[in-house]
């Protein structure tokens, strides 16, 4: 038990710098919610969240939207995960619960860096014939982009730092931090 405890991250001490504070995040979420509400006025929107990182953002964003919303969740396998060696291809681990055909769909993402996952998701969801398909990302890390993706709603454009918190993880930890912070470099780099 003691050995296990020693391996747990120290949530606050492992953060070198708070990049975006809790209040700043909440203000931005309210701003995005108002903008989405205005853009989809007199209609409704289906928010599709991509697990797991976007869960806090989704939970806050949906409450900041004043028009009727429906929500759905998806999860796709990530490269390097347990499924990589078996299939060698990305897999839908959790598909949509209901049809999005003819609906206005807004993908809710925590962060877009390479754009590879989102590029795959866009192709997949377009095949389900939504009326419209847009993207809302809390964080955009353009320096890391491999595939250019048009982002309709962006919260913050961030520098090329390893960030955790507010859903973002490192080794599945740090997701519950209420802010977005830069992980101390020595935790993931050799000296």
């Amino acid at each position: 038990m003691a050995e296990r405890a020693a391996r747990l991250p120290d949530l606050r001490a492992d953060i070198g710098e708070i990049l975006i504070g809790e209040e700043e995040i909440q203000a931005k979420v309210r701003e995005l919610g108002a903008q989405i509400s205005a853009d989809y006025a007199d209609s409704s929107v289906t928010l599709v969240s991509v697990l797991k990182g976007s869960l806090p953002f989704m939970a806050d964003l949906m409450r900041a939207i004043s028009i009727p919303v429906q929500i759905d969740l998806m999860e796709v396998s990530s490269y390097g995960g347990a499924t990589t060696e078996t299939s060698g291809l990305v897999r839908i681990l959790k598909d949509l619960s209901s049809s999005i055909a003819g609906k206005d769909v807004l993908i809710v993402e925590d962060i877009i860096d390479t754009g590879l996952t989102l590029n795959y998701l866009l192709r997949y969801l377009r095949g389900k014939n939504p009326s419209s398909l847009r993207i809302c990302a809390l964080l955009d890390k353009p320096a890391r982009r491999l595939v250019e993706i048009p982002i309709d709603y962006t919260g913050f454009s961030i520098p090329d730092e390893f960030v955790v918190g507010y859903g973002l993880d490192f080794g599945e930890y740090y997701r519950n931090l209420p802010f977005i912070g830069v992980l101390r470099r020595q935790l993931y780099e050799t000296a």
């Binding site: 060698g88 860096d113 993931y188």
Partner: protein, 190 residues
């Protein structure tokens, strides 16, 4: 089974696997761009970006050299953009790639994919690249024993066997690709 091209560097093989994983079509070094000519009109310098993504019409150049050693490549890239303004090229630095490996939980690869340490060994049975791996960046994040089981670590050291045995560790700026190909060819013939 589609045969993989002979990648000059393990990071290129890894990027190819990532692109395959996400269903992004790619071509390896499909085109060479002349970027400098001699007085006689002969091409004296050219640039072959590592990947071309036809569906996205973008070239990707991947460099895992240390940041201080990428100046020459940056210069070539600037020249390429001057001469071919319609060509879209994305330069992916070593730090970008290591960050990508960290994102995907490949802590061992993040530590190893740099310069000569990332040179390929080849699983000749199925022609798929196999990576030489060093121990994880932090014992908190991955067990050394686990890294050792997947890589080629010399006993009592955190270096791959080829490096621990005393082979050159510094990578000259201009010859990484050529050296990589020679090493790759030597391994094939061994």
């Amino acid at each position: 089974m589609i045969e993989q091209p002979r990648f000059a560097h393990a990071s290129e093989a890894e990027l190819a696997r990532i692109l395959d994983y996400y269903g992004v079509r790619w071509e390896y070094e499909p085109r060479t761009f002349p970027i400098m000519w001699g007085l006689d009109g002969k091409v004296v310098e050219s640039f072959s970006p590592d990947f071309y993504l036809p569906d996205l019409d973008v070239f990707i150049e991947l460099t895992t050299l240390k940041q201080s050693l990428v100046r020459r490549k940056n210069r070539k890239l600037r020249r390429l953009r001057e001469l071919y303004p319609d060509i879209r090229v994305k330069l992916f630095y070593g730090k970008d790639f290591r960050a990508l490996m960290l994102k995907y939980g490949r802590f061992d690869l993040a530590a190893s994919l740099s310069g000569l340490e990332g040179q390929l060994s080849v699983d000749r049975a199925n022609a798929r690249p196999k990576l030489a791996v060093v121990v994880a960046a932090s014992p908190v994040l991955a067990e050394p024993a686990q890294a050792a089981s997947t890589g080629e670590i010399a006993p009592g050291t955190s270096q791959p066997a080829s490096i621990a045995a005393g082979s050159r560790r510094r990578v000259s700026r201009g010859s990484r690709r050529r050296r990589g190909r020679r090493a790759y060819a030597a391994r094939l013939s061994a």
